[in-house]
Symmetry: C2
């Protein structure tokens, strides 16, 4: 039996989108491949509210995160972490010998703009990396406020991990001053895992031109230059099946559901889970910075989460246990992509039933 | 109208395989994901005639090529190139600040074992990189003979780009002494593009342990260590859809068609194209080192290749023009993956008809 996925990626994918993955292939050096990528890029610019170039990578979001911090740090990177994925970004810098410092806040808290200001005013950094939506804690950082601070400084490249939020909540890339905004297919975009994509500003391009040893496959500047020269074809063979699915889904998001409706639906779903969590458990994250795409629930009843998931599995659902050190202390319910209110309520009714709540 | 692909990747994919790409997703941290990868790894070991570990990467073959040369060169790499893809490997090393030298032969020729011996006996190198099947020239290098030379030296890591040959011709990884043998989904395996995979020997693992700054996403040692620790699950979300398709196709290759039959079919297809090429044009590559998966035809009649492809397109076929500097001087017909003799003969009849041959 298929289990409906309420985990923070891979998400449940609509059958019509899955069908696109099964389309016969086309050559990646064909005119059709160029048109396909151009249409995808134009539509993604709308999702991200940007005029920047769009880069597609046949990797998970981690591939582009590594590429971004390596390609665009000339001096030193300041990585702000609110959980596991922020820390991972710092580790990527270190593994590439990119000078970087890690600034962490307590799990469940958000980064605030003053903290960023204090770090940037040291003058040591030329890149700042921030997680928008932290999948381990359920925190959504105030990227708009952080962006205002970053703008005060010259020549800081602002890179944002929006892997688990983009297309599920509004991110105004240009207005917020984001140079590289990264997301992945298997989250709020509602596609199978396998590709990631980002915005890439002119400032980011100019910075990368000054950085040596950027590698090849994950080098964002190489990707950028190649698609300019070769009419939006990629240096290596991309996952064309994912491109078909992404193209189809972007049309749905922009022209069928509508972007604002999509963002609102995510917020409504989030509210339902938050209220449920507050009634029976508690929220793990700071209430002023809750994620709109997933909720991390504090396991105040000390339930056996893997036992709950086993029972849910028999009924055709799956949620996530806590991440890393939060494994038993929290559990996570994702409410992103094309999840409907009906789907979500069905899940919660089943959890209540299994746990004998209410 | 869909055009049947006779280009050297992406290849034509069987409808049953495409259907697997549309399966509903599973969590990448589930027991099912572990079982899926274990089955894939066991079956790939049979395809590669090896006991080495198998690593899967959500990248094109280029991702693993870069990972291999970066992860496993501690001293200096010797890259042997017979065309565009060999050269690319060298460029990847340079872009990562990995010390490397490039050894090239004339386009259309193969690497010979003596040449490798001469290079290795300088004592300067601790890794050798060789393209098995060069897609630009249609040359297949004698990896078995080169392997015999490599074995004479201590502590040389032997990495092979078998992107466009593995599963289409026999590669005996352990017997030939290959430490890392790399292939990609969209070639002779007969899958859509989007993942790549390689064998990874204990010697390669031990070497990588001595190399610093291997990066993260493309670091083969990180992949290796993670799958050992986490029951064959990957550090980042892999392309599960491709894993479904690969799993299905490996069962077909091993248990329905049979490996030896598959290799023989590729050879029979190759012979037909070679004979056709010799009758009407000429072969570009050295006749002693012809590829079994694609044929590069010397354009002795000076035909307009893009015009030919345009006409073929109207009839539902597509072949490749020459690569890079060989663009108009050659054209390429791929005969790999699940291409049948009937498919191939239909193509050649149509080419003859368009060109008014015979």
């Amino acid at each position: 039996m298929h289990k409906k996925l309420f985990i923070p990626g891979p998400v449940e994918v609509r059958p019509e989108v899955l069908e696109q993955m099964a389309q016969p292939l086309i050559g990646h050096r064909s005119k059709e491949a160029s048109s396909l990528q151009k249409r995808i890029s134009n539509n993604l610019r709308k999702v991200f509210f940007t005029n920047s170039e769009i880069l597609l990578s046949t990797t998970s979001g981690s591939g582009l995160m590594e590429g971004a911090i390596r390609s665009c740090t000339a001096k030193r990177a300041a990585v702000f972490s609110v959980g596991a994925f922020g820390k991972r970004w710092y580790d990527m810098a270190v593994s590439n010998n990119v000078p970087a410092d890690l600034f962490e806040v307590e799990m469940g808290q958000a980064i605030n703009a003053e903290m960023v200001n204090d770090v940037l005013k040291t003058g040591k950094y030329d890149l700042i990396a921030v997680t928008h939506n932290e999948t381990s804690t359920g925190v959504m950082n105030p990227i708009d406020e952080i962006g205002e601070i970053v703008k005060k400084y010259d020549d800081i490249i602002f890179i944002v991990d929006a892997v688990s939020s983009a297309a599920g909540t509004k991110i105004e890339v240009d207005k917020w001053g984001i140079d590289i905004c990264i997301t992945s297919s298997q989250k709020a975009l509602g596609l199978p895992p396998g590709i990631s994509l980002c915005t890439f500003s002119q400032r980011a391009k100019e910075r990368a031109e000054k950085v040596k040893n950027r590698g090849t496959y994950l080098d964002l500047l190489s990707l950028y230059n190649y698609i300019q020269k070769k009419d939006y074809q990629y240096p290596s063979t991309p996952s064309i099946s994912h491109m078909f699915a992404l193209d189809y889904q972007l049309d749905y998001i922009l022209n069928k559901e509508g972007l604002e409706n999509r963002f609102n639906r995510h917020l409504e779903l989030a509210k339902v889970v938050r209220n449920w969590a507050k009634k029976y458990f508690d929220l793990f994250a700071d209430e002023n910075h809750l994620s709109n795409t997933l909720t991390t629930v504090k396991n105040t009843r000390n339930i056996d989460i893997s036992e709950l998931n086993k029972e849910l599995g028999k009924r055709g659902f799956v949620i996530s246990n806590g991440y890393g050190s939060l494994k038993d202390k929290t559990f996570r319910i994702a409410h992103m992509a094309d999840c409907t209110m009906e789907d979500l309520e069905e899940l919660l009714v089943n959890i209540n039933d299994i746990l004998g709540l209410d």
